[in-house]
Assembly symmetry: C2
Homo-oligomer: 396 residues x 2
């Protein structure tokens, strides 16, 4: 992981240059409590006392940390200067900022992007107290654009780790498709996947109790819900939402399969129509993805494909970024709903990895959801997952 | 864990009554990014969309969550009312607050306590926007006192879990004392402890790379540092700082042992003096602990015991609270240094669990640190760990 932290801290300087922001200060404390979500990218271990990780557009990378963590900070090999302190960070912080005399100082807050909102409101007040009486207070600006650019723009190492997580996910899907049998409950099916995860010494991509989400037939509740005791019957669809976290990077893929019945050895037409409408919505979205396009424009394309086919509008975004987290923050491919804030207005950028996951929930069929993972390239987008184009037919 | 969440959400109402605060609103989003550190106590799973967990001093416990998480919220059995929403939380939040018409609304920020500072500065601005034009904005107050009371005041179930974590820690210490041999490196010794942790399917109490901290002899670097390749020689002290996280609750205990040499089959006098000074500092501190005493008063007692014996003052606090986290926030037993903010001024309260860990770092001896865990009771304090009163003598 050291390598990625070194890559990302170098990238941070590039991003500051690009955005023409003089200084970026990540001010944090006691990160074992959760901590600023940017820290795994630029530091990669806990900070105990009030600490400042400082980047300048001229290339300075400075860490001010409690004395007991000086060695740990040095060992990241990501900071040229490590300044240890005992009683108060204030004089050291002021000295560094004074020396660099930045026109603007970006700090970690954002109304829209949770991953750029790592500075607690109370700690922000502490910072104001430290800067009290200086002109630096008027130079504070949000670091949102720095962080979402840094987080979204995956390095080669990061993309490779995401690809490996996807590979593992697809392996596990293949296994589960071979092993799912009529009469198994959602809980039993999820257990097969949990076993595979444990075997590999990795983790589910999100909370285990609903990773995977498994929905058999129309009775199964949709949403972020744990698998139930409902059993798979012939003639039903089974829908999965599943991913793994492997070497700190995540995958997030939905797949859907059909268990043949005597009456319907092939999926009935209404199943096929819903499935192919979802696939078509994905294809249209991916075809339109390229740097500069806004998330909401892609969302609208996918959304329209579903509603124009006569299905109800899905109540979620078409896609989100994936990286260290399943929901990796930054811009999303979603509608301009309050709950998404401004994030659907942000343009796609090369190196970003998105899910594309329109869905149809039909009371007669159940959850029809397919989710692919897609990398934005210089001139378009490419699938990282192997896209599902037909319903998987299970052995009956 | 459901049981603890039910206990703590009930306790929250009691705390609001006690502090005479009408309403407490935990406003959060995308908690897989880290999230507000109070959430494991009052919710216990992730929240995806902007969500509000609301407690009133009259006993209302209300969760406003995204539609897809309605079922999950209901299954906590910790909230009487669960309000799902699709596009915006704002109208629901305003309706609930309007109905309850509180004199004050506590929200999660604190300059001093990281565990009470879960509201990001950006999300705070979102909240202000939602409340814009209402008189509620002037009623906002920090929830710090609610959260630190709730977090610090352990329920019986919580104390039992901490006791179990301590028991496991002491078992592992016993094992390591039997197995440490001359010539082993700090890394090898740490490996014994990591193996025991894995065997038991539990986790280290803090980051694995320096849990345990192992210091052999005077050359070993003090602080939050990983074990090194330094080897244990006869005539040296070996110091450990170690804890486990088991069923979500932590322990944090330091122990110290001596490896006899031919020249010194018994620990030399300077070792004994340093060790007994530390033990004496702990004893004086624990004897003085009782509800109402301030953390800094206890810290001063321990600190004075060390310096009056002619040793240098230790550069850290005498103790911190332990719970779901090794450093569990709230009041600490420390000096009034900037980096501890106001937290040393907060009084001890029954049900709080503290470490007591004065230390001596002597260039001729190395790290001499002992750390006990102590529960504040109605009229004093009791050891939860079995206090170390003599140097452990290893088999040579």
């Amino acid at each position: 992981m050291e390598k990625i932290i070194q890559e990302k801290t170098k990238q941070a300087v590039t991003v500051l240059k690009e955005l023409d922001i003089d200084l970026w200060v990540t001010f944090s404390r006691e990160t074992s409590a959760g901590g600023d979500p940017v820290l795994p990218l630029i530091y990669g271990r806990d900070l105990t006392w009030q600490s400042a990780l400082i980047f300048s557009k001229h290339g300075e990378r400075i860490a001010i940390v409690g004395t007991f963590e000086e060695n740990t900070a040095l060992r990241t090999h990501a900071y040229d200067t490590v300044i240890p302190y005992n009683e108060s960070i204030q004089p050291h912080l002021l000295e560094v900022i004074n020396d660099l005399d930045p026109k603007s100082i970006a700090i970690n807050y954002s109304m829209d992007d949770v991953y750029s909102d790592g500075l607690g409101y109370g700690l922000y007040q502490v910072l104001l107290r430290y800067l009290d009486g200086t002109s630096f207070i008027e130079r504070l600006i949000p670091a949102e654009k720095i962080i979402r650019t840094l987080r979204g723009r995956k390095t080669k190492s990061e993309i490779n780790l995401i690809k490996s997580a996807i590979e593992t996910t697809e392996e596990i899907y293949d296994l589960v498709f071979q092993n799912v049998k009529q009469g198994m409950s959602e809980v039993q099916i999820a257990k097969i996947m949990h076993n595979e995860i444990e075997l590999r010494g990795i983790k589910p991509s999100w909370e285990k109790d609903h990773c995977p989400i498994v929905n058999v037939g129309p009775e199964s509740p949709a949403g972020h819900v744990s698998p139930t005791l409902l059993q798979l019957d012939p003639g039903q669809l089974i829908h999965f939402d599943f991913g793994v976290k492997q070497n700190q990077y995540c995958s997030d893929i939905q797949r859907i399969a059909y268990l043949p019945s005597k009456k319907n050895p092939k999926p009935p037409k209404n199943f096929q129509n819903a499935f192919h409408t979802v696939v078509q919505a994905i294809e249209k979205a991916v075809l339109a993805m390229r740097p500069g396009v806004l998330g909401r424009e892609i969302d609208a394309l996918a959304r329209k494909t579903i509603t124009e086919a006569g299905y109800p509008e899905f109540k979620h975004a078409t896609g989100h970024q994936v990286g260290r987290q399943t929901h990796d923050g930054g811009g999303i491919i979603g509608p301009l709903w309050d709950r998404y804030g401004d994030t659907p207005n942000w343009p796609l950028e090369p190196g970003q990895v998105y899910t594309i996951e329109p869905s149809i929930i039909d009371p007669a069929i159940g959850v029809v959801g397919v989710e692919e993972m897609v990398l934005v390239t210089e001139d378009g987008a490419e699938y990282l997952s192997s896209p599902q184009k037909e319903l998987v037919i299970l052995q009956s």
